[in-house]
């Protein structure tokens, strides 16, 4: 009987300690939270180490940088819901726009804060195929052939998937001489060949590489290189199409959060560090295309020669592309409606 009473008392005690644990104040050292998208995990783990060292050397202060990764849209939604990000480094301008628009945590003109429209590194979309390229996939047009299974994530939830989609559209636009109906048909045929629609870029890579599903994975160039490094060049080949889209993942300080936490100086220095020689080299080493022409030249050989179109060239900017293609009832929705 006493043991039973003790059991109850113990339960209460444990709960009390748990609550006390919540109340204790967080670490006193300055901490930055970087909310980022899926495939940047390796990139930021290197970049954060380098910057923390740099920050220590220049200011003498210790800085801890915490990371959160997930699908770009989901991450933006979390920031809107109150996830206290000092900086966001997402896959798409549109996701940072959404944060600005829906939460007011940063200004609508956040792009102007840093060089290159606040996109310190770029990438493009390439194809990862199985060894020997058994389905002979060389260009976007090959993706809609019968019997070709294409793996790409859901553009509604994944930033990378939107770049995939836009790359396909851009190619079709050139191939069909700007006939929008034909472009849409091409996109529809492409998604008909998709057997699995993961929610994030990483999910798609695992599906393709580890589960053995599909003939071609549409992937960020950096993600394709990473998959090859992790799983072996003897199993997968990268096919760079002759033309593709220039993917420009943006970064920004979340003004109101940084001001409230008093981390603005560190947050700004953090993002500016991307534009230094060290920052650009970290990007290049992780297969992101550097913005700095000098460093781009140095690493020229590690990237395929692809004719790159920007979103401004073909789609007249992100806002317009978002509205026409991905918004409710947009072209992508039409594909799964009929």
């Amino acid at each position: 009987m006493k043991s039973a009473a003790r059991l109850l008392a113990f339960g209460g005690l444990v709960a009390a300690f748990g609550i006390a644990g919540i109340v204790t104040v967080r670490a006193a050292d300055q901490t930055l939270l970087n909310v980022s998208y899926d495939p940047t995990r390796e990139l930021y783990s290197q970049f954060n180490d380098a910057f923390a060292r740099h920050w220590k050397d220049t200011t003498g202060n210790t800085l801890t940088i915490e990371q959160s990764h997930g699908g770009s849209g989901k991450q933006a939604q979390s920031v809107i819901d109150g996830l206290g990000a000092d900086v966001v480094t997402l896959a798409l301008e549109g996701d940072i726009d959404a944060i600005a628009e829906r939460s007011g945590l940063l200004n609508a003109d956040w792009r102007a804060e840093l060089p290159n429209n606040s996109t310190p590194y770029t990438s493009t979309i390439v194809f990862l195929v199985r060894k020997g390229n058994p389905k002979a996939i060389a260009d976007w047009g090959d993706l809609i052939k019968d019997g070709v299974e294409v793996i790409t994530p859901n553009p509604k939830t994944s930033g990378g998937a939107r770049w995939n989609y836009l790359g396909a559209w851009a190619w079709a636009n050139t191939a069909y001489g700007g006939d929008e109906a034909k472009n849409a048909e091409f996109i529809k045929a492409l998604y008909t060949n998709v057997p699995v629609l993961d929610t994030g870029a990483r999910g798609s890579t695992v599906t393709f590489v580890e589960r053995g599903v599909g003939d071609v994975l549409l992937a960020w160039e950096n993600e394709a290189f990473l998959a090859q490094r992790e799983f072996g060049k003897d199993k997968f080949e990268i096919v760079a199409p002759p033309m593709s889209i220039l993917a420009e993942p943006p970064v920004s300080v979340v003004d109101k959060v940084a001001d409230k936490k008093g981390t603005r100086a560190a947050a700004e220095a953090y993002l500016k560090y991307w534009y230094t020689r060290e920052g650009q080299e970290i990007a290049a080493r992780n297969s992101y295309r550097p913005r700095d022409p000098e460093i781009a030249k140095e690493y020229e050989k590690s990237f395929a020669k692809v004719e790159l179109f920007t979103i401004d060239d073909i789609f007249g900017g992100w806002t317009k592309a978002q509205r026409e293609h991905f918004a409710e009832g947009g072209i992508f929705d039409q594909i799964y409606k009929n």
Binding site: Q77, K156, V194, P195, E328, Y336, K337
Partner: protein
Amino acid sequence: MSRGEAGPRSSLPGFGLTMGLTLTWLSVIILIPLAGLFLKSFELSFDQFWSILTSRRTLNALKISFGLAFAAAIVNLVMGTIIVWALVRYRFPGRRIFDAIVDVPFALPTAVAGVALTSLFAEKGWLGAPLAELGIKVAFTPLGIFVAMIFIGIPFVVRTVQPVLIDLDAEIEEAAASLGANRWNTVSRVILPSLVPALLTGFALAFARAVGEYGSVIFIAGNLPNVSEIAPLLIVIRLSEFRYADATAIAVVMLVASFLIIFAVNRLQRWAQTRTPAY
């Protein structure tokens, strides 16, 4: 349940206090958060609400979740009955171990289950490879969702029916047999009918659990809209598209369905006076 000795005017103290605390805690943890969901959905006009629910994608997701959960619960009903029968009536090597592992799907975290099932049923997996040779694809098809739903539903039928079958009076069976009924008739006319309330309860619990399941399903489902996209995933997708209204509308429908199922189960229990398992 409604025994004579317990009543509102029972001589035991503490009804007001414990009931008060129960209702308070229930409100804080369950009712207020759920009310928030309803409140949010009221921001929609009825027409908007209706058009969200009847959009093709939503309808298909609901159909997939409810349809496959129903099918999986049927499988669990049949297989659960067979398993209970084997566990209770027969002796075989490893019986106790099999009895214990029936609960694994309940205790194993759903994400772990999802990853494990996907490894198992993917085309390169231990079961996926032989099945692929037969031309059957499980992982990344609706069949995969079905498999995951069967997995998480197993314990419910077994654990609700097991105590009832154990307690079943041997004499009725013997009487039936001595009156000349053959074994099949005894089982189908005497035993099974007395298991019906427990079977229905187990079925409803397995169904309710499978409808809402997320963790173990998303890894193995292909997540293709209209084909293998479950309703809980559609909620998550709508959220990351900043479409709260859609997410809440789907959530409200699923919530009402879950409450109705649970309420039916409890009525059933009260009617049958059987002991419910704790889950």
